[in-house]
Symmetry: C2
Subunit: 421 residues, 2 copies
């Protein structure tokens, strides 16, 4: 890795090991460090077990110059991290007056909890006297920075929004100021509708032509494959400049399936296209049950191009709110080309948009038949005067069928808008 700085992430908590919680913190920390040229070499999760935490600190500091620790800082008794850190770094726990004032402020003015502040919350103001305190605007558990031998250790609370705030406002600025960093540059081409293997076939000689320090990675997702080029070097601008022609060539090779030259989700791509055109869309969802609407509205500012959805889970709702004919439902069924066309037409009319996306299918595990097995999905996209439909035959479990149906529906909408001049 040349003189790239290596980092390790240690996450603490039994809930991670028994799978009760999915670790999203590590992904966020990895992204933020990567942006400033720090390469996360290892991520380790350990339980709330003294020796296991100590071993992880020992081991990771042999490998990495930067160790980010999350979790184990809450107010309840299953947390042992703070006394452990005090002992590990040769200090003792003392009350930090600034943290104490902040804890009091939070409980009195922000949370406005009645009654006196609990002892266990006041204890959150205790920090090892060998730590540099990182102010946590978003909660009562402070971040802490330690140095030992040649390594920097940073401990953050495990609550995601507190960890995120601390990373962005404290940790990253500190690292930029105190470390000499190599630039890591990624460029990602986002393709949809073609499998990993077939795309790899198109890229055999391209990949062979890459210099040793530029890596190509395949990241398959729901219906999509992201192709990521990664390079690094001391000067970010030079690295970017060298990478650009390779990235342009990569996009040309996969142009038939290219959605975007950015690492962004379909709902963001669609939002940009609609905003440029000053157009709007509505959805009518049966089998995806609101998930398409959720993805579209998870993007800030989506109200400019998205008006809403009729989640017509029941047939009566398809009839009453989307004006699907009773006869259509009887003759062709709720999962049919005819029904999704009428759903799209109904959404277009009722929500008064430029486009409408409609979807109906059988997500499983129940509800399938010989003629229409689980995984049968019909999608329609309608504009003013034209409509297209597409059928999917999915073969996964319920959750994955919902994700795949949603991704395919959004991609069909994207293509329809682009060809609709």
């Amino acid at each position: 890795m040349g003189n790239t700085i290596n980092a390790s992430i240690i996450t603490i908590g039994d809930e991670l090991l028994i799978g009760q919680t999915i670790d999203t913190n590590s992904a966020f920390i990895g992204q933020e460090l990567n942006k400033i040229g720090i390469w996360v070499r290892r991520r380790v999760a350990v339980g709330d077990v003294w020796d296991d935490i100590v071993n992880a600190l020992d081991e990771e500091s042999r490998i990495s110059k930067l160790i980010i620790i999350t979790g184990g800082l809450g107010p309840t008794a299953d947390d042992i991290t703070k006394p452990l850190l005090a002992e590990y770094f040769g200090g003792k726990l003392v009350v930090d007056e600034n943290v104490l004032a902040h804890v009091k402020y939070l409980f009195e003015k922000v949370y406005r909890r009645p009654g006196p502040i609990l002892e266990r919350n006041l204890k959150q103001a205790e920090v090892p006297d060998v730590a540099t305190v990182l102010h946590n605007t978003w909660g009562s558990a402070p971040g802490m920075l330690f140095k030992k031998n040649d390594a920097i250790f940073i401990s953050l609370p495990g609550v995601p929004h507190e960890m995120k705030g601390l990373m962005q406002e404290q940790v990253i600025p500190y690292l930029l100021q105190h470390m000499v960093l190599q630039a890591i540059v990624h460029r990602t081409a986002f393709t949809f509708g073609q499998g990993e293997s077939m795309i790899a076939e198109k890229l055999v000689d391209f990949e062979a032509s890459l210099p040793a320090h530029i890596k190509l990675a395949y990241l398959p997702g729901y219906g999509m494959v992201k192709l990521r080029l990664t390079s690094k070097g001391p000067d970010k601008e030079l690295v970017e400049k060298e990478l650009l022609p390779y990235f342009e060539e990569l996009k040309t090779r996969v142009s038939e399936f290219l959605v975007s030259g950015e690492d962004e989700p379909l709902e963001v791509v669609i939002g940009k296209i609609l905003s440029e055109r000053n157009q709007t869309v509505a959805t009518a969802e049966s089998c995806t049950g609101g998930y398409i609407a959720h993805l579209i509205t998870s993007v800030a500012g989506s109200s400019a191009h998205y008006k809403g959805s009729v989640v017509s889970y029941a047939n009566a709702v398809k009839q009453d709110l989307l004006h699907v004919n009773e006869e259509t439902l009887r003759q062709f069924g709720a999962v049919s080309q005819e029904t999704v066309k009428e759903m799209a037409a109904g959404a277009l009319q009722e929500l008064k948009t430029d486009y409408a996306l409609a979807i109906s299918g059988i997500m499983g595990p129940g509800g399938g038949s010989e003629e229409k097995p689980v995984g049968t999905v019909w999608i329609a996209v309608a504009g003013r005067g034209n409509v297209i439909t597409h059928k999917l035959n999915l073969r996964f479990d319920r959750q994955r069928n919902i994700m795949m149906a949603t991704a395919n529906a959004l991609n069909l909408l994207r293509k329809f808008i682009l060809t609709n001049t």
Copy 2:
């Protein structure tokens, strides 16, 4: 941990380290192992780097008797895992005729891809000759089992539904047959509406009364805290029997906030209550943009009690489909007690259900004002003849505001149904 068997999970892939992918596989594997009494002691993620993978295999096999490896088995060239495993376990890659037949079957009969099968897909039938092959019904990359010294190593593809299928149909049955396992028993009490610290106060002497081998853990989530009791021993029934009175006492202590004595999400709890009562619900969502509908419909069988949603992101949709008065919107605004009451009434009338849940708020980052800052949310739940409302003042980022608003709305719905006899 007594004579509990320890396991380590190693996940392979740069995409995990740079945070492009969130690791959901480890959580699933942790859950499945835990159910059969295997304790995951460590989880480690490393990149597609030969030495780092070898080091992880060395290290984890010193700690654990079982090492589960995921990732690095796809058809594209960034994957180095299979040759590495062959070398590490002292074998060489050979074509497995059963896997080859399965790959051909998948590409010819299931995926139905035109043209001959690609060389890179046929290569997926190559496995180290020292491996026991685990048949992957769901994809072309087989699972592989190795033994070295005293440890069992199992390598699984990283595609979640393939990994899940292999875990459930191959790995777990193998482990049950070949290992002498201690029972681990968890019981989880799910509370809503009270913070971690306040709940801990109620449990100080309860926690002190627990025998050393029974652990209490606090797992805070959106608006909720899950309280998990864990015990273990050679006989599952005895462990369960010993744990039960402690669990009953725990539930009594937190009865005011108790949602469920199972580790299940709110949408499952609500589904059960509605099914018991043979009643139905509909939703009218503005700020949550379909996320409530998505959660409810992610549960198989939800069509029995859920009819659908009007995602009225635009005010015009609130008027046209939910019959919110123009005057109400003008006088009180879209985010107001009056508007959500009318939204709920409109949903009840249009979707013809026993209950309707309506929500409207400002999720940020834009759209706030002095009077109604970002995080202001109004919720209404209506039944036949009565309606309740609730206001939230959230203070997080957009994503977290959506999650928190959804959790609070579902809990209000749950409470309303339970008090509505």
